[in-house]
């Protein structure tokens, strides 16, 4: 029975992906991509990887969807419908043959590897030393904390990269207003945003708190926060901050810098990112709470896009 579920799910994942890629209309493509993200979330549930499912649903179905819809709307306003146009038949045939061959090869390689949770056996005995139960959090914030540290700066760098695209005269400034042009819509969305933002904040805080022992964690929580901020931004509940606000900058760098500082402080205990015995959980939770805040704000601003001229309406309220 479970296998039937898995099989149908996999077929639907492939189907939605194929339509998302090849349908002519851009909005249909994005709608299918959102559905694809949702189904991927289910796939992770099917694999009992709830930690990943949380991130996938929040990002794949939530944040990336908004990102693509906004991008399409902005392109459409410029007369670019982003419809898929065909390429030469010969190219398509060649690509088809090449990709089909590649998939066969890849599938054969994949099938030659038995699925097993080999490193789980390595991780499990190390967990008691950390004082937390969630093994994925253990990997992310202890055993492979170095990756995660660098990753948090990649996210920050992506925002800087987006900002670097600001057109002449728009710097420093705000991203294009994502709010509704239509007043009745703005009212509805505003009410919703007012409700959702605090709920998202609570939910995110819960995910971090739960993330020590249950599925959850900073990345998942940050994404939920970003979703809340985006809805609130679109409903006009909060204004988008100007790129040069000190408070905003502080919110952006807070998580990565705290992570880096704790990592360097570990040198006193024996080396980079060494957590002193007994302090591991406290340090991990500290890192996660600051990181989730920064990730949330960074993701929301990433979606909002670079500062734009004329997007300068007054709202001293920062996002952080």
């Amino acid at each position: 029975m479970t296998f039937a579920f898995d099989l149908i799910l996999c077929l639907m994942i492939l189907g939605t992906a194929a339509i998302a890629l090849f349908v002519r209309d851009a909005l249909a493509a994005i709608a299918f991509f959102i559905a694809f993200g949702n189904l991927m979330g289910l796939a992770w549930l099917g694999l009992d990887a709830v930690n990943v499912a949380l991130a996938e649903i929040a990002i794949g179905a939530g944040v990336t969807g908004v990102l693509l819809i906004l991008a399409r709307a902005r392109l459409l306003a410029l007369g670019d419908a982003a419809t898929s146009t065909g390429s030469p038949l010969l190219l398509r045939l060649g690509a088809l043959a090449a990709c089909a061959g590649f998939v066969v090869l890849l599938a054969a390689a994949v099938l030659s590897i038995p699925p097993e949770s080999g490193l789980d056996r390595v991780v499990a005995p190390l967990m008691p030393g950390l004082g937390i139960e969630n093994r994925v959090t253990g990997v992310l914030l202890a055993f492979r904390a170095y990756d995660t540290l660098l990753e948090s700066f990649v996210l920050l760098g992506a925002l800087v990269a987006v900002w670097s695209l600001a057109p002449a005269g728009a710097w420093p400034g705000r991203p294009a207003d994502p709010g509704m042009a239509d007043a009745p819509m703005r009212r509805v969305a505003g009410t919703f945003g007012q409700l959702l933002l605090p709920v998202a904040l609570v939910m995110a805080a819960y995910l971090v708190w739960a993330g020590s022992d249950l599925p959850g964690g900073a990345f998942q929580a940050g994404t939920v926060l970003a979703g809340g901020l985006l809805v609130a931004g679109m409903g006009g509940t909060i204004g988008l901050p100007s790129s040069d606000q000190p408070l905003l900058r502080a919110a952006l760098v807070l998580g990565p810098v705290v992570f880096l500082a704790i990592g360097l402080a570990g040198v006193a205990a024996g080396g980079l990112l060494v957590y002193p015995a007994g302090l591991a959980k406290a340090l991990i939770v500290t890192i996660e709470y600051t990181l989730f805040l920064s990730i949330g704000v960074t993701l929301a601003l990433l979606v909002a896009g670079p500062p734009m001229p004329g997007a300068s309406d007054p709202d001293p309220e920062g996002k952080g």
Binding site: M1, A4, F5, I8, L9, M12, G15, I19, V23, D25, L27, A28, A31, F32, I34, A35, N38, L39, G41, L42, L45, D48, V50, L54, I57, A58, A61, G62, V63, G65, V66, I69, L70, A73, R74, L76, A77, A176, P178, M180, A181, D182, M185, A189, F192, L196, A200, L207, L214, P215, G216, Q220, V224, G227, G228, L230, V231, M234, G235, M308
Partner: protein, 88 residues
């Protein structure tokens, strides 16, 4: 009993597939985005049911995130180009 829940999950997946047919056919943008929303609700249902089938309460967190962010795509869409060419 758990098998019943899995069975329900399968049926829910099929209703999601039905909704996606409408998404494909359109005809308008509103239908497409509505269909994505419907697929989202279906997936939330599947998450709840699957959580029951496997006895894992954490699945509900996935469902909760899904519901929280379900409206976000629609919100982004309707703001879109209410007046073409006027924005940005």
């Amino acid at each position: 009993m758990a098998d019943w829940f899995t069975l329900v999950a399968i049926f829910l997946l099929l209703t999601v597939a039905a909704a996606l047919v409408r998404c494909w056919r359109g005809p308008g943008p509103v239908e497409r985005i509505m269909a994505a929303q419907l697929a989202g609700t279906g997936v939330i249902g599947v998450a709840v049911v699957l959580g029951a089938a496997r006895g894992d309460a954490a699945f509900l967190d996935a469902a909760l995130i899904g519901t929280l962010l379900a409206a976000i795509a629609v919100t982004a869409f309707v703001r879109g180009t209410a007046k073409p060419g006027a924005k940005e």
